[in-house]
Symmetry: C3
Subunit: 436 residues, 3 copies
């Protein structure tokens, strides 16, 4: 615990562990409330010691109230022969999320008013919800929809929508400073892997990794249902939110797409600078997106009453991949290597936050004589200057109390980790001192 | 009069009305002073109640003085057979504008010293002036010039250049605020349609349209001779000029070219933002030009002693079309549809000025629950968010007292009129309040 | 001496004179100390009255100390037949600069440890130094290296490395203001023409030219060994450095490449604006480089304890031409026309500094009537406005005490010299006054 945060390269081992967690959570039927969320948080807590809190139905949370708790035991559609042609136990996406209980015989005509399909992807089952308007329904493939006969159907949704609780999972890893970094993943989606079991796995393993180090900032990991969960947390932790100085929302981080970073509301927060730097030096293409008030829980964190500097990390952003919110966002759609790469980059971003700082050159007048300290090549005249010599020059030149190490890295066009390592050497030689 | 300003799409009917005004004004021989200007303003006043003011010759106006008044009754060149080969009554461009009276016999040699032609356009008559240096002359086609024989010619210019007045036309449409929007068109050019009967028509019909609405700003319409007219108005209204918060000079707005906007001296005035926004969302190509101290009366309004935020609206800018200041800038060169489009865009720009404002989100902490107000779709999970939902999110997110609606529109990449309409809905639901 | 600075176009005559100086200095064996530097400064002082100062070995200069003085009388390698196969008298690059004395027999094996070659350019001799670590060595062509036989060699370096002095050359041309412009060239390189006999010639002839004029700023010309020379000067002139308001380091200004300007540390100093303007209007391609803390003595001037606004002028920048620090940087590599062009541009940059200023339009309200002063064409209506009329409009419009002439030139897109000349005319007509 005395070691300061180190970088982690994307390795197969951690990718496999993350993928195993995704696979374990995949079958659970989650929603914004209910046993599925509790089971999910329970599984996560086998990896990292998150704390669960239960918020009762009806609790006022700003303009909203915590809804009734939804649970579902079974659901099916039977044809007139009594065959189950749609079965919740085979795929929990079949049930319109938050369906009220129903058990009746219906004509094809009436049934169709409660069926949701994707005509453009006839073999995929859509994911649909009706949280705040009472309704019942089934999501099926469009191929099956077209084959339905004129007959009587028996529909059953054995669900409950009762007074209960909304469940939040939370972990605070305290650091030297009470200033917090918020790391958040939504946990309300049922059997969808990229959105957002991938984000859950990333948040879990990031927490696990960070807990091994002595940290400058405190890190708050939040596992909450989308929208209402973030709103509930903010409503119950309004004072605490003021401590949040940086933040990242994690979602859709397991697919094959390039990494994407969506900026904070202001667009020039420290987390924006850190994330852009890491992606720019990743050696791979990436997407940089301006803030917009859609997406995941950055919507709530960025509302004008909070204005928290929370960015968002993903691979292909939500809604931009065809499999989004369909049964095709399955265990084949995410891969261990992608999960590991996302974790590695998230750690690198945190690394910048942790190790960034302003230094003062202790020999500010002209260059110090690096050669007598063994820091400079003895033989002069060659064209090439080594990259660490260049880094030393940049650090010494810009360490005037106005530039932090990330400024130096950006202006030098060199990776932060190199600038940080070289600045450590300069500090050891007392050529550099941290600003008080 | 209780209605707030509405948009107007470019319609054939108003285009035809504007074109009729152009046609009616076309034959009049205008100059910077004289009866032609008076007649022009008289015709305009049949459409909108402009007020004429007469400023006497010799009145000092800053570094200038109001010049003598020029009028011309007749002018011709006769050949030795007594045939009128150049006749002012056929085209008033034939006379060098502000020619002193002359009546004499001249040799071809002497005549040629007073002839102006366009060798590169041999069938067009140029428009030339000599306001501040006494001279006489005729403008003819180059083809006719080449055919002139060695013979004696009789030249007559029956003009007067006497103590008199410079005439200004002005209309103030008062609004709720004493802050003014200046809308100006120069009226000194004789039979030239695009430059500037088109601008006169646009200014006239804009005044006519705006007078139907309850307005936030006061609107000052100025019809004045170029340069000396603007200087005279500013000299006589120096205090009043301080009320001008936005302004547009209108010229060359009837040709087939794309719309052009030339920025104000500072380049970032509210009128610059409004005009750029409207052109960007017009769905057609457009030109955006940085400020330069040439052009029309923006030269005077932008002088360092005034620095009024006055931009300039045109289609093909002055001097950039071959027909500029020639007889080819005639009734065929401008079209009703172009005039109507220019009017529609000018109204849209004014619409932004009128309806822009800063609002405060009344539920600033997290998103308000739009669904319970019927403002949000009931069924969740779909990829698409409707454009009005996107607009709501942007408005709610940025309504923190720091951003006006135009900021929201720009950041959202959505047209101002949509943002304005959606903000009206949010105000009706008391989710938004105007800043005091 | 009563004339204010004038521009100089690149002419063959001055180019030839500059080249003659390069040729005269070429054979001298320079280093960071020693007789070669003294002889070089002596030759320069035949052109301009520079003052030499001698700083004793051991003088502490910030984090450094002035090193021992190095001189070399002779050096060679003889093969076993007693033939001189490497001879310092043929090319002074053959000796590793700052070699300690050596005289001994060595095997091929031992010899090779002290040989430096350029495998990628087998016919060129590299330039190498070992100022701060005692060593001896020879630089030879790689072709010769490959031909060396297994035999005994006699090596001799008849050098001295003793208490002595570091020599600086300096010239101050006083101007009306105590504020200084620093113009600096490094003088430590032996037989290398572009790096930096070209810079020495430029600095010398710039001093010669400027001394003919009455100047606003004071101009300090510095001829110093690289790095340690600049450090020494700064250490001994710390108070004086505060007067330096602008500066240029001159190096590699004689090759065929396009002109390059490397910005100051802040990137927006007056010298940056001036140099960029001149290069932009040069009518030829050019390179603009952001500041970096490598290069020549701008490294020291830009250190955080000084932050002097010193840019750098070169043609092909150091290290970017293959001939850099090799025997191929010879008298064929630099040309009179390039030297003359570099001088002309350096004078133009100084011209901007000298003549830039803020003016106040004395008729700020509307345009003054230029015509009555003979400054504007009498005949109106033509499309073209002359460039000097455009320049007048820009100057009058922006002369509000906030913009200097260079701002006007930049915004007008016109060359500074035109804006300056036209502003002189406007001042003669009392339309413009300099700000106090």
């Amino acid at each position: 615990m005395s070691t300061r945060l180190e970088l982690l390269s994307a390795d197969a081992c951690v990718g496999d562990q993350m993928y195993r967690l995704v696979r374990e959570l995949y079958p659970i039927c989650r929603s914004i409330t209910g046993q599925g969320v509790r089971d999910t948080l329970g599984t996560i807590s086998q990896e990292v010691p998150i704390h669960l809190s239960e918020v009762p139905t009806g609790t006022p949370v700003f303009d909203w109230a915590v809804p009734r708790e939804w649970n579902v035991r079974d659901a099916y559609i039977k044809n007139s022969c009594g065959e189950k042609i749609v079965d919740f136990n085979k795929c929990n996406l079949h049930v319109l999320n938050y369906s009220v209980p129903v058990k009746k015989e219906v004509s094809l005509h009436e049934l169709k008013e409660h069926l949701f399909t994707l005509p453009e992807h006839p073999d995929w089952i859509p994911y649909r919800t009706s949280y705040y308007q009472e309704n019942w329904g089934f999501c099926i493939t469009h191929r099956q929809f077209l084959e339905l006969q004129e007959e009587q159907y028996e529909v059953l949704i054995d669900s409950t929508l009762n007074e209960g609780h909304l469940t939040l999972g939370e972990l605070l890893i305290p650091g030297e400073s009470p200033e917090e970094v918020l790391l958040s993943a939504h946990v309300c989606h049922p059997s969808l892997c990229n959105d957002n079991l991938s984000g859950i796995a990333l948040n879990t393993f990031l927490a696990k990794y960070l807990s091994r180090f002595r940290l400058k900032y405190s890190y708050r990991f939040l596992f909450a249902p989308g929208t209402i969960g973030a709103i509930t947390w903010l409503a119950l932790n309004e004072q605490r939110a003021a401590n949040i100085k940086h933040g990242l929302v994690m979602a859709c981080v397991g697919d094959d797409g390039n990494l994407s970073y969506k900026k904070t509301r202001s667009g020039d927060a420290a987390i924006d600078r850190a994330a852009q730097h890491i992606l720019k030096h990743s050696g791979r293409p990436y997407n940089l997106m301006e803030f917009s008030p859609d997406g995941y829980d950055e919507r709530q964190f960025s509302s004008p009453g909070f204005k928290l500097p929370v960015g968002s990390l993903s691979r292909t952003p939500h809604g931009r991949f065809a499999e989004y919110h369909t049964s095709a966002d399955n265990l084949d759609f995410v891969r261990p290597t992608n999960l590991a790469d996302s974790l590695s980059k998230a750690i690198s971003i945190v690394y910048v936050l942790e190790h960034n700082g302003k230094y003062i050159n202790q020999n500010p007048k002209c260059e110090p004589q690096l050669g007598k300290r063994g820091l400079y090549r003895a033989l002069g005249g060659r064209t090439e200057t080594s990259v660490s010599e260049i880094a030393m020059f940049w650090i010494l030149n810009l360490s005037d109390g106005e530039h932090d190490l990330l400024d130096v890295a950006e202006r030098a066009g060199l990776p932060f980790c190199l600038i940080k390592d070289v600045s450590d050497v300069l500090r050891q030689h007392e050529l550099l001192k941290e600003t008080p």
